[in-house]
Amino acid sequence: MTDRPLEGRTAIITGAGRGLGKSMSEGLAAQGARIALIDLEEDVLAAAVADVEAAGGQGCALAIPTDVTDTDRAQAAIDRTIEAFGGFDILINDAAMGPQFFTDNFVADTPKFWEVDPDLWYRVLTVNAYGPQLMATVATPHLVERGWGRIINVTTSLDTMYLKGCGSYGPSKAALEANTRIMSQDLVGTGVTANVLIPGGPANTRMIPEATGFDRDELVQPEAMRPPVCWLCSADADDINGMRFIASLWDEDLSRDERIAMAGAPTAWAQIEALGQRPRDWAQTDR
């Protein structure tokens, strides 16, 4: 029981069929959490559910095929999770359309912004930025009502947000990063927190196609997400809100404070002091 500290918790994880989402699902299940796995493709989901159950035990995983940009289906996914598991505590927004939709090789072959199909550019923006907003919108009232919860958004490294050749991938992640900081402000005092977790570099998933030429063993492995996501979902992270964590810098051997200092930072670009000028009377208000 001691190593199943997430017993009694339920997580909804989008993009759970593959890559980081699947790995996080397995990590959380192994610590006792039940998982509602959301993805588009039913066969991919079915395979992932089998792996997650292998990690967490029979019946700990539920497949919910859903498009995270579809309002009705997003709400139905929430309802289904509550019906199956009696509620949920955690939402992880991992579903994303990656650079591979724009180029096989974002290192050497980078389409210019004027060469990209507008419909694809918009679709990626919608899935990566609006999808998490929609899922958080339908999930949050339940979390707030329970008085405890986690929203964890997977964005990307700050410089990948303006990586050329990847269409709207980077900009969509910049939007999600900013929105996470908004979520964390709006959730203050509710017992629910919102944070960002990123791998810290290109990860060994389908998002980094073979054509990029990277040695796959040297990429960040999806398993790197497990220790920090399990910690974020534990009671030990109750006071952590509005932060971003880099999984590949997360070191469980360090003390809690050292770990946070090493892998954590404020969400977005809050360290930069070049902020807006405010009229004096606004600055004096409590806003």
Partner: protein, 280 residues
Amino acid sequence: MTDRILEGKTVLMTGAGRGMGRMMSIALASAGAKVAMIDIDEDVLAEAAKDAENAGGQGSVKPMVCDVTDADRAKATAEEIVSTFGSLDMLVNDAVVGPERISGFFVKPSKFWELGDDLWNAMLRVNIFGPQLMAKTCAPYMIQRGWGRIVNVTTSLDTMYLSGAGAYGPTKAALEAHTSIMSQDLDGTGVTANILIPGGPVNTRMIPDASGIAREKLIQPDVMQKPITWLASDDSDGITNMRFIAALWDDALPHEERIERAGAPVAWAQIPSKSIYPDD
């Protein structure tokens, strides 16, 4: 105007009917540019075009009703501009769905889960997809001539995560990042991509009267005029991937000091948080 330094240049200004887009159109026209003023609100646009034409002279302005998210309309608009004025040298993406559309903005802020999906999506579509679509449509004209400007209006870095403003901040964060991508893609073409922001809340419809802030204490939209004129001019050749804060722009300073005071790299490039690549 004394100095018509933009003579021979044609600018496409989106969101030209009101606020900052209107003031920038007036400034560019008075400096000698031809200005195609784009908006979706025909009545407001007609009025704004009259103001700009008064400043720039007969025939300097062309008001055009166009939805910046409509690919076919954008293409037709760009073609019409080129056939009317002979070139398309600069795009200013100022059109935006602002937070004033959210009821209670600035007075009783909504939580993120209380916002309407439709408005959130409208912001996403107009504020970030719109500038991409317009830039995609206009860039080839500029590249062909070997000179051009794309200027995107985003917002202060901390407004990008302002609670209660819906997708407004996040869409501006996306446009900020995308401006850097534009700049990188345009490297070597003679076309530049930069950001111009006012630097704080501006006296436009975006800040409702109910905010209680005295309107004269807000940044006035005409602060955009001098820096946009400079960005449109040959004086800013070679300046790319930068963001400029209009409220800090001081024409009285020497060129380099002006840039130093009001300029910064696009986005958050100052933060030492690099993606870790296998080769590192």
